[in-house]
Subunit: 383 residues, 2 copies
């Protein structure tokens, strides 16, 4: 009696048969392949997964039969058995009622693109999940780990995830004492210092800041760095703030900043839309850029390359961050690298355009910073 023949009367096959045979039960299973190839299911499993020490002949024969039968292994069964799903959660802290903040469109999109790409390269896929604490959703999907973008103070979702033993890596340093396995962030303070220095070198005497009222780390660090810089060079701070992620409020604040009696002769806008808003405001007040007003804003958008005039932007390099976050997370999942939490600080790029140059307007140059303090175990590519 061959293996295949034995299989004919085996329990599983019988129950299948009772229900009308494998054709009616939908897709072919590993048993069908085994039967058709005349081997056992173990051999099929090993052949398809490249395990065991099978002769190449068997391996290729099984593969061929599986192919012919259109066999697709069940991801659910594999996950249940191995405890690994190959799925990574991706979540963004919510600011509104929608499950995602795409206010910073370009940043998020690029970060997500890079993360997805990096994960895929290592055999993982990303699942987009909301930052709400709705357990049912999170527990309905088997995750190997999670990436959290901009975790808020003591984020309940993150806390819960970490407590359940799931590796969590965050984009942006966690505000409180969230016990994430690792985090990646830009050196925001250094970035602001560098950019203010750049403006000062271009001739700015009084640099203003357009910032948000929100207390997230990015806003806080950047604003603090601005005040520190002002204190150091002996300039009185000139700033306006508004509820971040409220575009209209941003436009109004931009206008307010340029309407002040102590009008700044240079402005740095912390958020993506600030550039166009400030440009529009400058136009209303008849201020020429860069002659009367120097402008820099933090943005990943390429539109600032073609505005009139082109605007100098600070890029946070979201692609690089997304990639790094994923490498760190997968390393943690697979137990590569140490157990100690990794904190990786990434440099930013100042893309210098006309709006911040009074003299000779070169086109584009970058002013990278030091590459960070705690090099991770991986080798993140650039983005």
């Amino acid at each position: 009696m061959t293996a295949a023949e034995k299989h004919q009367v085996s329990r599983a096959s019988a129950s299948r048969r009772a229900r009308g045979g494998s054709r009616l039960s939908g897709r072919a299973g590993i048993r069908d392949v085994a039967a058709a190839a005349g081997v056992s299911i173990t051999t099929v499993s090993d052949a398809l997964n490249g395990k065991g020490r099978l002769p190449d002949a068997t391996r290729s024969h099984v593969r061929e039969v599986a192919q012919r039968l259109g066999y697709r292994p069940s991801a659910a069964a594999r996950t249940l058995r191995t405890g690994k799903s190959g799925l990574i959660g991706l979540t963004v802290t919510t600011y509104g009622e929608e499950p995602f903040t795409f206010t910073e469109f370009a940043y998020f999109a690029e970060m997500a693109r890079a993360a997805t790409s990096a994960a895929l390269a290592r055999g993982y896929a990303l699942v987009i999940l909301p930052a709400t604490s709705r357990h049912d959703l999170w527990s309905n999907v088997a995750l190997d780990g999670t990436v959290v973008i901009d975790p808020s103070d003591e984020d309940p979702v993150v806390t819960e995830l970490v407590r359940s033993g799931l590796p969590v890596v965050s984009d942006g340093r966690p505000s409180g004492s969230l016990p994430v396995a690792a985090w990646v962030d830009n050196d925001h303070e250094e970035a602001v210092r560098g950019l203010l220095d750049h403006l000062a070198e271009a001739g700015a005497r009084r640099i203003g800041l357009l910032t948000g009222t929100s207390t997230d780390t990015y806003t806080r660090l950047s604003t603090t760095a601005y005040f520190d810089w002002c204190a150091r060079v002996g300039q009185e701070p000139v700033y306006e703030h508004y509820p971040a992620h409220d575009h209209c409020a941003g436009a109004v604040a931009a206008d307010r900043l340029l309407a002040r009696p102590d009008r700044p002769d240079a402005v740095y806008g912390l958020f993506d839309p600030n550039g166009t808003d400030l440009l529009a405001a400058a136009r209303r007040y008849g201020l020429r850029v860069p002659e009367d007003l120097l402008l820099v804003c933090c943005s990943e958008s390429s539109v600032y390359a073609t505005t009139e005039p082109p605007i100098t932007t600070l890029s946070l390099k979201p692609g690089r961050i997304g990639n790094t976050v994923i490498q760190l997370l997968i390393d943690a999942i697979e137990g590569i690298g140490g157990d100690a939490p990794v904190h990786q600080v990434m440099p930013t790029d100042l893309i210098i355009r006309t709006s911040s140059q009074r003299r000779s307007p070169r086109t584009t140059v970058s002013a990278p910073r030091s590459p960070g303090n705690a090099p991770g175990p991986s080798d993140p590519a650039d983005a």
Copy 2:
């Protein structure tokens, strides 16, 4: 002997115990909850899933115990058992080597946001997957269905998915004869006609087109509609095309279009960056917008509201599309609605700004079209 006591000596518990007890084996399982609550695992399952006819007392008691033990049902096991994962694949046709095309950032981001949101509302999560035919990735995740954005001709991935019996709904009508369960698309031809009429009404005598060389449906339909319109009004077509999704080529083509001897007095750009490119080109040739040149481009980006001058855009309403696609897909997954493929055509919005108005520049108005031919079974909200 109570159920709980019997459970103590049951097979599963024993094997667990042999490995050192449930505490060491990680998270609490349904058996632990059953034991702690003094009921059977069936009762736990029913109590937690709101099934069966249990007294409320039992139900709440079980829930409480589960809560206390920090019990989280295993998604993998449930998926294996029920055949439903609650996961929906999201894929975008690739144009480059990267797994995603975010060239049309704003469109994709907004579409994905809306889709994610809609899916979540119905208890599903989205998994981002590459359009490559790498089987290993697709078969590593248990999907209930898939959304395909911009399926290309006879897309092998889509074909494969459909053949495996998975419901597939596409954003953008499939070019060939891909047997998707449903598709959603804009009425591109009507959109172009409406927009050209609008330009003509604003005084345009010769309207140019900036378009792509790619053969995707959007480009094809829009370009054809342009030629048809020209034929109807008796205008000679004036157009330049370039490899879509190549930003630099777009800028060059924009320049070329305005450098022609038969220079158009109005231009429609099919792709997002065309607006700023055309504006830059106009500036180089000393053309005032809208006085010398009327401008419209297809874009979801809000930057066109603050350019100088603000540019009229055609919005494809990606949010609405993302939502509809998901409703259709989940309906198909859950067997709601008929079996016949649904083709839903969605209206576009023309957001009229200064760049297309020679007379009184009102701020913003929409020119919606007919709501489509085959109303789907769902009730997609607006976005």
